[in-house]
């Protein structure tokens, strides 16, 4: 069994499971309660908050625990737009964002905001000049993902941050969901105001995540209620979940420090080998790509059939992002690369974890070669 769909979700690390289970067993109280039980649970949440903050290099008070990446993105984007609507009504994002960013922007557009969607080049990267040209005095929010979830392209976050920093009315949100733990990012240096994470993408549990919100920033909350989490996110705090997020972040950084060079080597190897296969068009960029994602298309073949063929050999890949797997259509991201519908309609993503081995990659490559050959034969 070779699982190469780690961008959809990762297998949680054993130590994360253990910490979730331990906290659930021993410290299950409501952290808002004022008695000892609540106090202990609250302390654990605060400790997790400070651990998460220190890994991100930010202040403890800047971490808001959420139910995951989608919620973090929704709070950041709609929260800023609603809170600061009186400052301006222009917001900017890219054309290749995850649906949990794109859809909130579409919703804001329906509500009177003017949205600029920045295009990307053949590598899937936005141009810093395009951003410069799009910025106005009315711009209150720019949201750009750090690493694209389908093709792995790394965006120039630091340069983008420097531009936005010249506009004091404008906030900068980064969807860090695919980047965290694989591609370094200095939030402070990059002038990032809001940053979303989802723990199940880095060996944590589903239903957990966080949003970094710089201290000075107010965000309109999307949920009204008990005013937990700096009044930004009402609802009983998921104590064990919050602790497991911090744990997953630590585990993830340890793996990063230990295995990054190995992952990079495997990634280059995989990229090189794939690009030599007849019938494959590479979608991931050669340079400036996250080390865990390789995306390619098989324009002459049906990518769904291809994925099923691999699955028969117990190799698990995906054809588009899991979040839109149900609607079989062109990949929105690959479409934006401008390589035509045939390429956009036949993309395949392999995504590695720090546990993936060279042997698994070699086996997968072999099966990929065979499958392409077999399917091409059948077509003739």
């Amino acid at each position: 069994m070779i699982y190469l769909d780690n961008s959809a979700t990762t297998k949680p690390d054993r130590s994360v499971l253990e910490s979730y289970t331990k906290i659930s067993t021993d410290f299950w109280a409501n952290p808002s309660s004022m008695h000892q039980f609540g106090g202990e649970a609250g302390q654990l949440v605060e400790r997790a908050r400070s651990q998460a903050a220190s890994i991100l290099g930010v202040n403890t008070s800047e971490i808001i625990f959420t139910s995951g990446g989608t919620e973090s993105n929704n709070i950041a984007i709609k929260g800023i737009a609603i809170q600061y609507a009186n400052r301006g009504n222009h917001i900017i994002t890219s054309k290749i964002e995850h649906p949990s960013v794109r859809e909130p922007f579409e919703q804001l557009a329906e509500n009177g905001f003017r949205v600029t969607y920045l295009p990307v080049d053949l590598d899937g990267r936005i141009s810093v000049d395009d951003l410069k040209n799009a910025m106005t005095e009315e711009t209150i929010l720019v949201s750009v993902m750090h690493v694209n979830n389908e093709i792995g392209t790394i965006q120039p976050i630091e340069e983008i941050g420097a531009i936005i920093n010249k506009y004091p009315k404008c906030f900068f949100h980064v969807d860090g969901i695919q980047g965290f733990g694989k591609v370094p990012l200095d939030l402070v240096k990059s002038k990032v105001d809001l940053y979303s994470l989802s723990a199940h993408k880095f060996y944590g549990l589903k239903g957990t995540g966080l949003l970094y919100v710089r201290d000075a920033i107010q965000v309109a909350s999307l949920l009204a209620g008990g005013n937990q989490e700096r009044r930004i996110r009402s609802g009983t705090v998921n104590v064990a979940g919050a602790v497991s997020v911090a744990k997953a972040m630590r585990v993830s950084m340890e793996k990063y420090n230990k295995y990054l060079s190995k992952m990079k080597e495997m990634h280059s190897f995989l990229y090189r080998e794939l690009s030599e296969i007849n019938g494959i068009v590479m979608n991931s960029p050669l340079a400036g790509c996250a080390p865990h994602i390789v995306n390619f298309s098989i324009p002459e073949l049906n990518n769904e059939v291809f994925a099923r063929t691999l699955e028969e050999k117990q190799i698990y890949v995906s054809t588009t992002s899991a979040c839109s797997s149900k609607t079989r259509a062109l990949s929105k991201v690959v479409s934006e690369l401008g390589k035509g519908d045939k390429v956009a309609g036949s993309s395949v993503r392999l995504s590695l974890s720090f546990e993936t081995t060279q042997e698994e990659i070699e086996t997968a490559l072999e099966v990929i070669r065979e499958s392409i050959e077999k399917l091409s034969e059948l077509k003739k």
Partner: protein, 376 residues
């Protein structure tokens, strides 16, 4: 003294079987339920199995269940969706003065946006009057949101009667079922509700998961956007393992409902008897309340001092709901029940109990309370 936790209405310990189920599944089933490969499919099966369990428990169809991150999200989603879908038909909302903040604060927000909200009073027993609902209804009423069981004193509201009245009215009916789900019989068809929210951590399940029932055919607007999960009603990768844990918690509750109810009645009785040693008021109604919550007020005591002292001796109770986070505001529920008696809302103690609470715990708790109240 062994510490005693009598704050089950704030949150409950996870049932050992729930923890076991979750720990077992966590390491095994980790696919993304939206993935089309077998990892995804087995994860999806887990989610759908709980969905069917919930549907069966409340007399709904599986397609009518939307998983959420908990009660607050469920309440917010239901109310915002309802007013959005009905905004061309009126701007009047009816709720009660004793709702949870996850409903009250949404209504206050809607007032700022131009909606008119009627906050119905309750009687001294904590019940909303069906007549009041009838009288408050206007042609332009678009939503009625009333909790099934009050979280501070346990009164069960006449939801079925209210549902009857609303059956002939355009207004949508939302019921906050967070304290009711699994604790009392609950059938959405019989109650004629359009939305019902519940949370897992109130029934010995994990935190961070809950559900919203949305009646088939009722227009729906999501709060959270992104992927196509939950039939586009709630974007975000499904919280697979917690959902499975929630399912287990429901199963355990269903199996033991009679036993739990009996036990809670017994604990309730013991508390009432033991507290007779000191002058007090019982705020929970004698009839028509869930047995697992008992709200009591004492004379001339500083509630802050009382709670602190109780906490020092290892007794965890609360003054109101945990969710009015971090402050000892006078209880809005008690204020609604006794508008002319300000003190009563100041000095309220809520005992709420469940899994693991023993008769001995109840006796000790009552005795400690008496001791401390007398000392103070």
């Amino acid at each position: 003294m062994k510490r005693i936790y009598l704050d089950h209405a704030a949150t409950t310990p996870m049932h050992p079987e729930v923890i076991e189920t979750m720990s077992k599944l966590m390491g095994e089933i980790y696919g993304n339920p939206s993935s089309t490969h077998s990892f995804g499919r087995e994860a999806k099966k887990l989610v759908d199995s709980t969905r069917r369990k919930i549907a069966a428990a409340i007399g709904a169809a599986p397609q009518e269940i939307v998983f959420t991150s908990g009660g607050t999200e469920g309440n917010n989603t239901a109310i915002f969706s309802a007013v959005r879908s009905m905004k061309d038909k009126g701007n009047h909302i009816i709720t009660t003065q004793i709702e949870h903040h996850a409903v009250l604060n949404v209504c206050r927000q809607l007032e700022k946006q131009g909606f008119t909200v009627t906050y119905l009073p309750v009687d001294q027993n904590g019940f909303v009057s069906v007549e009041d609902v009838k009288n408050a209804l206007k042609p332009e009423t678009i939503l009625v949101s009333i909790m099934y069981v009050n979280n501070e004193m346990g009164a069960i509201q006449p939801i079925q009667e209210i549902g009857e009245i609303l059956a002939d009215h355009q207004a949508l009916f939302h019921v906050d079922g967070v304290q009711a789900f699994c604790k009392i019989p609950l059938n959405v068809e019989k109650l004629k509700v359009d939305f019902l929210s519940a949370a897992s951590h109130k029934i010995n399940g994990p935190k961070g998961v809950g559900f919203l029932y949305v009646k088939k055919g009722v227009p729906f607007f999501a709060l959270q956007f992104g992927g196509d999960q939950e039939r586009k009603r709630r974007a975000g990768t499904e919280n697979t393992i917690s959902i499975a844990g929630f399912g287990k918690a429901i199963e355990v509750y269903e199996k033991n409902l009679d036993l739990y109810t009996e036990r809670n009645k017994n604990i309730n009785q013991i508390l009432r008897e033991e507290l007779e040693g000191i002058e007090h008021f019982i705020n929970s109604p004698k009839e028509g309340a869930v047995p697992n919550i008992l709200s009591v007020s004492f004379h001339d005591v500083c509630v802050q001092a009382l709670l602190t002292n109780l906490d020092i001796v290892g007794l965890a109770v609360s003054s109101g709901s945990a969710c009015s986070a971090g402050s000892h505001e006078p209880s809005h529920v008690l204020k609604a029940m006794f508008p002319d008696d300000e003190d009563r809302a100041q000095i309220v103690i809520r005992y709420s109990f469940g899994l693991g609470t023993t008769e001995e715990d109840a006796r000790k708790a009552a005795r400690k309370t008496i001791e401390i109240v007398k000392k103070l």
